[in-house]
């Protein structure tokens, strides 16, 4: 006589009601998808924001005193500082022992009346060729390279700026209103940062052409490894008419803003998981009630309560394994789509991938789904194990 294992019986039982089993698997799968995407968003957002901030090339930014939100905008999106600092501030900064290097910057903007219906602002970032490229060593060039002469009439364009202006190395660029021609000497590769939309020019040339000699709008400060950045920031606050923007502060502020959104998404995930738990309980319990007599006959033929419990529990485990696998497949394959949707919802998102799904996260999600499934299966399995053979067989005609 051919023996049949308890796992085969469980699998056959699930196949008897294919539609119900499939719907339950889909329900578990959707919950696992939401959970994996949420956990992926948690670690992806942090990682992308950290990368964005590291790509600034400096840990502290000094700007002229003004609205801190303008300073944050300047750092994260590009923009114009409305006030100026004196260049002498650089010597004060360099005298601090925590400082490894500094790079002065001057942002200038001109109104271009020939953009759109009512004109628009063009911005130029003056940078020091001796210090800025070293601080931004991760920037790669698609064409050309950095300028060397701080007074030359040349420009390096971020990829998107070059695309918008349709510029290549050797082309000319005109500063509207001032009729200053610049030669394009470099086009950066796409970096996924605000540098993509920036037009970099030599700082001395920009100061001279805009009548801002000796003036700066920002100074990027690279801090020594293991230095006490907080102590440095406190001393920088003592400098007159400047404000200090720490990248760590910016990160914390953004993370606290995003925390609200994360709590909302987490709530949705919890609700989805609860619904899928109820779905599992319902499916297995229905299956137990439908097989009331069958379970009674199995017990009358020698099956012990533990055997029945194990069989029903195995059905739950099979459903959860399949649902978990489906959810992880969805989360992994649709991570980019989820990324796009989140970008539309959040007011600020970093440039890297927002959904980071790795092996550890997949295992965690799988373990959570399996754990929830096992808990959900306890009650139906317990009910099945308690079935009395004679009662169940007598109830056949009821």
């Amino acid at each position: 006589m051919k023996k049949i294992s308890i796992y085969q019986i469980a699998a056959k039982n699930l196949l008897r009601k294919r539609s119900r089993s499939a719907l339950t698997i889909i329900g578990i799968g959707l919950s696992a998808w939401v959970l994996a995407s949420l956990l992926g968003f948690n670690q992806g957002y942090d990682s992308a924001l950290k990368k964005d901030i590291d790509n600034m090339g400096f840990q502290v930014l000094l700007t002229a005193k003004g609205c801190p939100y303008e300073a944050a905008t300047l750092m994260l999106k590009g923009g114009t500082g409305l006030r100026y600092m004196n260049e002498s501030v650089i010597a004060d900064i360099l005298s601090q022992r925590e400082v490894e290097s500094v790079t002065p910057m001057l942002m200038q903007a001109v109104f271009d009346p020939d953009r759109g219906e009512s004109g628009a602002i063009d911005a130029y970032l003056g940078v020091d060729p001796a210090t800025f490229p070293q601080m931004k060593s991760f920037l790669k060039f698609k064409q050309g390279g950095w300028f060397k002469d701080p007074e030359a009439h040349v420009a390096v364009l971020g990829y998107e700026a070059a695309e918008l202006e349709q510029r290549e190395v050797g082309n000319k660029l005109l500063i509207p209103g001032k009729n200053i021609e610049l030669a394009v000497v470099g086009i950066l590769e796409r970096s996924g940062t605000q540098d993509d939309g920036t037009i970099f020019v030599p700082i001395r040339m920009l100061q001279k052409e805009f009548g801002q000699q000796g003036k700066l709008t920002a100074v990027g400060i690279k801090v020594n490894r293991n230095a006490n950045t907080a102590a440095l920031e406190n001393r920088l606050y003592d400098l007159p008419d400047v404000q200090v923007v720490s990248m760590a502060q910016v990160k914390n502020t953004i993370m606290s803003l995003v925390a609200t959104a994360k709590v909302m998404v987490l709530s949705i995930a919890v609700i989805a998981i609860l619904i899928s738990m109820l779905g599992v309980i319902n499916t297995i319990l229905m299956s137990v009630l439908e097989r009331y007599q069958e379970i009674g006959i199995m017990k009358s033929m020698g099956a012990m309560p533990a055997d029945v419990f194990r069989m029903i529990w195995t059905e739950t485990v099979i459903l959860c394994i399949m649902g978990g696998a489906l959810g992880l497949a969805l989360a992994f394959s649709l991570a980019k789509v989820t990324d796009l949707l989140i970008r539309r919802l959040l007011p600020y998102t970093p440039t890297g991938s927002l959904i980071l799904i790795d092996g550890g996260l997949m295992l965690t999600t799988f373990a959570v789904v399996l754990g929830i499934g096992l808990v959900s299966g306890v009650y139906p399995a317990w009910r099945a194990a308690r079935v009395r053979p004679l009662e169940s067989i007598r109830s056949e005609g009821d």
Binding site: D114, E117, E163, L164, Q166, L334
Partner: protein, 213 residues
């Protein structure tokens, strides 16, 4: 299940490469559509690229019709074009389409409003960098393009900037002699715009018929 799953995955993944290159969208579609088609009640926006519609074969056809190669880092087959179909009630009444063009000092964006037959109803620069830009942006310059269609550009050689004597293109006056480069770039952009509109919007109404006007 397979019937819907495969197209779903294909559509969601294909939507992503649109981010690869930048096209030419209207700065303010609601305002611009109303200004160009005052009688309109709405518009539909669609996106197309040479790469997705026909790949290398279509690029070759477009270049052949243009009489010039697509050049440089940014004039490529994967550039996504934004196409606006203007409606009045349920009925389409025209199109708006803009293209990027390399100019002497920066990117030029030329937007055309077309009727359903592909005739130019309006021409304007959405972006132009030149010290004489105001002369080219003067409405009098744009009016010279009104009523033209792709057949009018057939005899125009975009590479040399030569138009057939006596043709309507030859009659277009450059109001800014110092900006001759950008004037010629503008004519190339208009021809490219009309060819792409024919490919993406008009079902190649003018393909092979350019000389029949």
């Amino acid at each position: 299940m397979k019937k819907w799953l495969v197209p779903f995955i294909v559509v969601t993944w294909c939507a992503l490469p649109l981010l690869a290159a930048v096209g030419c969208e209207l700065n303010d579609p609601d305002r611009d559509v109303k200004r160009l088609f005052p009688e309109s009640t709405g518009y539909r926006t669609t996106y197309a690229s040479i790469q997705k519609k026909g790949g290398a074969g279509l690029l070759q056809q477009v270049e052949q019709r243009l009489g010039d190669r697509f050049k440089g880092l940014f004039e490529t087959a994967d550039v996504p074009y934004t196409l606006y179909t203007i409606v009045k009630g349920q009925e389409a009444i025209g199109y708006i389409h803009g293209v990027n063009q390399k100019g002497r000092f920066g990117g030029i964006q030329i937007v055309l409003a077309l009727d359903l037959e592909g005739r130019i109803l309006a021409f304007y620069y959405q972006r132009l960098t030149n010290s004489d830009a105001r002369l080219l942006r003067d409405p009098a310059f744009g009016k010279q393009f009104i009523g033209l269609d792709l057949r009018d550009f057939n005899g125009y050689d975009v590479a040399s900037g030569r138009a057939e004597p006596g043709s309507r293109i030859a009659a277009i006056q450059n109001p800014a002699p110092r900006a001759e480069d950008d004037f010629r770039a503008s004519l190339r952009a208009v021809k490219k715009n009309l060819i792409l509109s024919d490919e993406f919007l008009l079902g190649n109404r003018f393909l092979g018929k350019e000389k029949s006007k």
